[in-house]
Subunit: 219 residues, 2 copies
């Protein structure tokens, strides 16, 4: 990794045009070649950047970075206050835990938290337009397609609508109704779901982990 702190102007010419006036900034070049220009504030996102793969040409006081799509990033340097470079080796990478899949797993284990009497038939039930998160049967023996999201927004309702369209053509399942499940369902998504006769439920992730815990299995 190479790090500079320098006065510079920056111009990006690609999907849009952007210009940064002269100021002191941090310029970071990673081992994979990606370039990022950071101001001293404004979250982790750089003001400007160019991802790998790209080609960097160093001229006299100016860098021109070009990517295969023909986008360019031009850095024109004033005073360079500081510069260093170092080898950091390979990174062992990030271990994550607790995203949407986990929520789906928990709900698959305890479908009744979504609706009393609900029983799981299959997870990731395939349709021509992608797999339905959970396919269930309700207390009356009817089929229910469940779409699980961490945050329930309009896209999710659209997705579920597409699944239902196909599932309802399968005479062994039809009629299939939809159930939209998320930690939070946004108002516009509620409106759209209700308008399409799709049910929606909010579930609490922490509570669900509690219900799922070995403790309660004792009872």
């Amino acid at each position: 990794m190479r790090i500079l702190v320098a006065d510079c102007t920056v111009d990006y010419d690609g999907r849009l045009n952007a210009h940064l006036p002269m100021a002191t900034r941090l310029v970071m070049v990673k081992a994979d070649g990606c370039v990022a220009i950071h101001a001293d504030g404004g979250a982790y996102k750089p003001l400007n950047w160019m991802n790998a793969p790209n080609h960097l040409v160093e001229e006299d006081g100016r860098w021109i970075v070009t990517n295969p799509k023909g986008e360019t990033l031009t850095i024109t340097f004033g005073e360079v206050h500081f510069e260093t470079a170092m080898d950091m080796g390979e990174d062992p990478g990030l271990q994550k835990d607790g995203v949407e899949l986990e929520l789906q797993r928990l709900l698959a284990e305890t479908p009744e938290v979504m609706e009393p009497g609900l029983v799981l038939i299959r997870r990731e039930f395939p349709t021509p337009v992608g797999p339905v998160d959970l396919l269930c049967r309700d207390a009356d023996g009817g089929s229910v397609a469940v779409e699980v999201k961490r945050r329930g927004e309009i896209d999710g309702v659209e997705q579920l609508t597409r699944y239902l369209e196909f599932l309802n053509r399968d005479e062994r399942l039809a009629p299939v109704r939809g159930l939209f499940v998320a930690q939070m369902v946004k108002p516009q998504a509620r409106t759209l779901a209700e308008d399409r006769n799709i049910g929606w439920v909010e579930v609490d992730y922490d509570e669900l982990r509690g219900v799922d815990s070995p403790m309660l299995k004792l009872f």
Copy 2:
């Protein structure tokens, strides 16, 4: 801005749990307090971070960063290879040019470039599922809902379809037809639009700026 290159492990506990094993990384603390841990690769996104506002506690070889939501980021340091800090001053900020809003503004001023005889009724016309970019009236007095995108893709057609669904229930407007406008409309979006009897038009941004320029207002 404060910069360290150090061996460290990192743990994030918040919306999810994430762990980084010991390795050499760049730790950046900006003037607004936000913290980012970068590996030597993998685009501009840091492996782990904590945005401002937050509270940083430095213990012996360990930093604990907490934000108001109760999320924590814990950095445990091994060897520190390098450390520096510097004042970079206020950043004058980014100037952008060419985004969707500008395109919408230009089209609102000259609706006839989308279709001869088209007249603007309102920008950002509200519906229960979000505002329609432009609501217009055509040469025959019919209502036209216009969705403007920089790049015309399938989700834009979906969006317009949802608007039309609701607008057509308003008897003062119905029937309302759709018009999908973008600098470039992708083949799949064209197909879907045509399938739903939604019109699509490609407009040239530079040309539009020309039409809109004071120069031509002289004629």
